[in-house]
Amino acid sequence: MPPIVSVRDLTKTYAGGFTALDGVTLDIEEGEIIALLGPNGAGKTTLISTICGITMPSGGAVEVGGHDVVRDWRKARDMIGLVPQELSLEPFSTVWNNARFSRGLFDRPRDDAYLESLLRDLSLWEKRDAKVMELSGGMKRRVLIAKALAHRPRVLFLDEPTAGVDVELRKDMWRVVERLRGEGVTIILTTHYIEEAEAIADRIGVISRGRILLVERTEELMRRLGRKELRIELAEPVDDVPETLRRDGLERVDGGQALVYTYDTHAERTGITALLADLQAAGLQLADLSTSNSSLEEIFVGLVKEDA
């Protein structure tokens, strides 16, 4: 199956001369959820805006559903919904009219039943006659989501959807995302919350300084880059790591009460067997052993540092 979104050598240099996208190539499969992870200013919003047609590319090409977003913009845009990062809403119009308006912009026939179910899903139904300016920030974010979904897009972009959002909304949002996934909607979200990407995304793309550093399946990314820590609690503290035990990745911690060995779960040999044998040979008594996964967050921080 051809990718639903195809980005080829995309560059974007803003009028001021700043290059926000520096040769981005990315394919997104239909029905997947992909998270774009990157620090502030990495170019996530610029990438999304360029795919959506809000900003014009300086070079390269983007296709959505096989339609070039510049040449065949009407067909490409017809498939897209966007929840922007900023809370940009018409303040004097009601929640209901806001959603209806968005549906109208995409030339969809009136469908009050669908809009009602959408507003109910987002806990907005009670507020349908309220003016947007009377709503809290979290409610406004919900209105933005309702607007983005009002025309039933095939591809949904969520630009930092959970930045500064309460737990209730986060739950509602992921429920809606799950439902959309069930309907085969492709979802592209940006975030700098790593747990979020890890919990929801099929694939994770890491973006930094206008470049995609890598795109991996979420589990593979964790496995490939996953490092684990083996913590060895000693019965008696040691002042120094014995000569026979010294090796890469081994540290003395807690005043010699424990040793921590960091290893790559994906390597040919983890070195655990050898370490345990050497511990025994050195005559050290072990009180306890435990392992822990390093979080995706550390991986991510590592990646960005690597790039710097």
Partner: protein, 253 residues
């Protein structure tokens, strides 16, 4: 053609108008009445007739034009400036709509409002003076064309403006003087010859003259020239808007 979008934009803009209907209705009625008190009664007491037309009646077309031009310009400029200000402009850039459709929605609504106000003023005027409109069809056509062309101008101003001051600037600095100097309240032939030549460069002269012709059957400039002028002005505005959307100037980075 995305008619759904045109109608959505048009309806949303008209909804804004209806929210402030009373205000939209009352202010032109009051200001027109004031003009009649000042110009019609006070000055009209001294100037009996202009070119054989009672002065109070003579100023009606100019009054209508003055309000319609300023209303159309400020309505349309505000309508497109506001989404830039609140950030909701992203929706118009995102949706599958062409420049023509966006313009049609916004300008259509702004022109409708201006037309409404023009008609309200005309109705108010009949309370003060006896009016016979010689060719109502031509009158409506001129009114409509003026509503549309000045809404187009306002649309351009709204896209150009970076802040509220700039938004107010053009109507204040350009349109009001052009209208006042455009023969709203006098006949161009009343001016010294040198000034008559200067006013030939004021586009508003042609509109007011043509509009007045539809009321009284007489004009400062031939009616054909007036029609040509307003059509040219409309085409110019449309061309500029087409260019703006093509290049994304001040809209799409």
């Amino acid at each position: 053609m995305n008619f759904g979008a045109v109608s959505a934009i048009y309806q949303a803009e008209m909804a804004r108008f209806f929210r402030t209907l009373l205000q939209s209705f009352i202010s032109p009625v009051i200001s027109t009445s004031l003009y009649f008190v000042v110009f019609g009664s006070a000055i009209g007491g001294r100037i009996q007739e202009v070119e054989g037309i009672a002065y109070a009646a003579f100023i009606v077309p100019g009054l209508v034009m003055l309000s319609v031009m300023t209303q159309a310009t400020s309505n349309a400029s505000f309508a497109i400036y506001f989404p830039k200000f609140t950030g909701t402009i992203y929706e118009y850039l995102l949706a599958p709509i062409s420049f023509l459709e966006v313009t049609l929605g916004f300008v259509g609504a702004a022109a409708t409002k201006a037309l409404f106000i023009g008609l309200v003023i005309l109705a108010t005027a009949t309370l003060f003076v006896d009016l016979t409109i010689q060719s109502p069809l031509a009158m409506l056509a001129f009114l409509l064309l003026t509503c549309i062309s000045f809404s187009l101008l306002g649309f351009i101003i709204g896209i150009w403006a970076r802040n509220f001051e700039q938004l107010q600037l053009i109507p204040l600095l350009v349109i009001t003087p052009l209208v006042f100097l455009g023969g709203s309240f006098y006949s161009i032939s009343m001016l010294p010859p040198a000034w008559q030549i200067v006013t030939r460069f004021n586009p508003v002269v042609y509109l007011i003259s043509g509009f007045r012709w539809s009321f009284f059957g007489q004009a400062d400039v031939p009616i054909g020239v007036s029609l040509l002028a307003i059509s040219g002005f409309t085409a110019l505005c449309l061309g500029i808007i087409w260019l703006i959307f093509r290049t994304g100037w001040r809209i799409r980075s």
